[in-house]
Symmetry: C2
Subunit: 360 residues, 2 copies
Amino acid sequence: MKEMIIQVSQEKYPIVIGSNIYDQLPNYLTKVGITEKSKILIITDNNVADFHLHKIMNILDEYDTYSYIVPAGEYSKSMKQVEKIIEYALLKGLDRFSTIIALGGGVVGDLAGFIAAIYMRGISFIQCPTTILAHDSSVGGKVGINHPLGKNLIGAFYQPKLVFYDTSFLHTLPRRQVLSGFAEVIKHGLIANAEFTNWLGTNVNSLLALEHDYVIEALYKGIGVKAAIVRKDEKELGVRAFLNYGHTLAHAIETISDYQYLHGEAVAIGMVFASKLAYEIGIASNEVVKLTENLIHSFSLPIRVKEKYDPNRLVEIMMRDKKFKNNQIRMILPTAIGNVVIKENIDRRQIVDLLQEFIK
Amino acid sequence: MKEMIIQVSQEKYPIVIGSNIYDQLPNYLTKVGITEKSKILIITDNNVADFHLHKIMNILDEYDTYSYIVPAGEYSKSMKQVEKIIEYALLKGLDRFSTIIALGGGVVGDLAGFIAAIYMRGISFIQCPTTILAHDSSVGGKVGINHPLGKNLIGAFYQPKLVFYDTSFLHTLPRRQVLSGFAEVIKHGLIANAEFTNWLGTNVNSLLALEHDYVIEALYKGIGVKAAIVRKDEKELGVRAFLNYGHTLAHAIETISDYQYLHGEAVAIGMVFASKLAYEIGIASNEVVKLTENLIHSFSLPIRVKEKYDPNRLVEIMMRDKKFKNNQIRMILPTAIGNVVIKENIDRRQIVDLLQEFIK
């Protein structure tokens, strides 16, 4: 089992990662000040509920615990769902001193965290990630929901009191979700740690087989990269933008495909695209493009968009992304493996042309 | 003109109060770092818009400024309204670096502040209060909306960058709103400052005539009380609860009457009720009840509920109030003019009985 303390501005919280540790959850709740008098609402999705909800409900039987199950998938990150869950929480009598536990992947974490942030102006929030992807979303305090006009447009910065990661839960994940999750692990390597990136490439087989020492190490390292960046820049005014590597195009792909692409799949394409753009602009070598493409491909992740979407529409959606300041195109681009920069004033035309290559 | 700096945890922002100062708004925006490149969305209600929106729009003509008008009244503090305004803001291209200005009273401030808090995870927010009541709601960072099950159940703590208070805007307020607003000014006296309470009683006529030196002084003092408390306890874990003096019953009256009572009217009754309860419990003298009742009455505010509501239903709504911890009735009660305490474990029966007297 590994532990790490995350520090963001005045707040501090522990992350615990281990295999088959779920029966220790009550101890950790006590450690972070959540007593058995508290009401707890577990928010999860139907996939996770089938496999793991009863275990968590049982282990929390000393608490006054409720659960709410949303349909799995990005569509649950909606205002409609927020309203339904808040209504349920009110009817069950959750008060300012109650706790919300997110048991699930990024969607459940973002949704549950946002509800915790706005329920009675903010109540305690615990993340129990059940996917690899959630190693990313569970750290850094970004919570939120989607708007029909784009992803994550409504949200808050809200820190959990604890992230409790039982990697044995990953074994029930569909393979496509496992692969998608590794895209963010790869991203953490690519933006900040060449050695870790290399280690990922060397251990693809053990990682994809979910051998637990390897998985714990990968999650621990990935979270380490993210935590270091978030500590420097909680509100994304500077270096935190590095974490958006691959994400600007990714969000557009998710929106245009109506979320047929999983987040990690879209990010995978987005990173290859960014490396190619960096090469074209002249800030990265072709070697960087090749290494990026090969690493991503070795994890069986997509490197191109299969559908014939209109590049101009994709760029339009990209422009609406909240990462664009004053209408200028601004992207995170690599200069080497383990290093990225913020590039301002990118020519819209160049993006459209390069997108042509990526859409086939 | 008076200025005060509010400090809450790491954040700090100025409050400016003066008569006919609105043409200085652009200077103050610049001072707090909002440049002419920013998009601005003014959120206001139809009453305020008729009188003052064009003045503010004109004075901000160097900015890319939009406005959104909601129907006046508590019903606009709804999720529906939040969604409509967010959609409008997205379509107008407001980004992470844009600003929302609340031009209005408490309802507009709470609604606009909540939208600023969750739009793209939080954008700049400016309060331009146009009511007396808003001297209270514009300080302290509480923003939020209502739920059919109760008031302010959804929200956040979110600080404005500036509170800009032009008291000349108060002259277009209906008299009932003026009176209602003074209820919170009186509250600030009653909970923390006997001398100020006395001054209010002595100057009722000048205050109700909105003579500007008096009004500026009253708002300045009222804000001073609130700011001192909020600085000590931003998240309402301790003394900030004092500010809820009169509010637990007030929220129940507002809910049960479907907001036929204005907030200040309900608070006025709530404060008289709390003083009477304090007397019955034996922690305040009858003198405190009389002084409270007389002061509130002298401002032409109600001291009893006119309708025959069921006291048990009122208590039920009070129990749902987020200020109740673990289902125990907990209220703010006075011990003297200028002093209140948090009283735990109040007997539900005693509240029901006393409510009988207040409902006629």
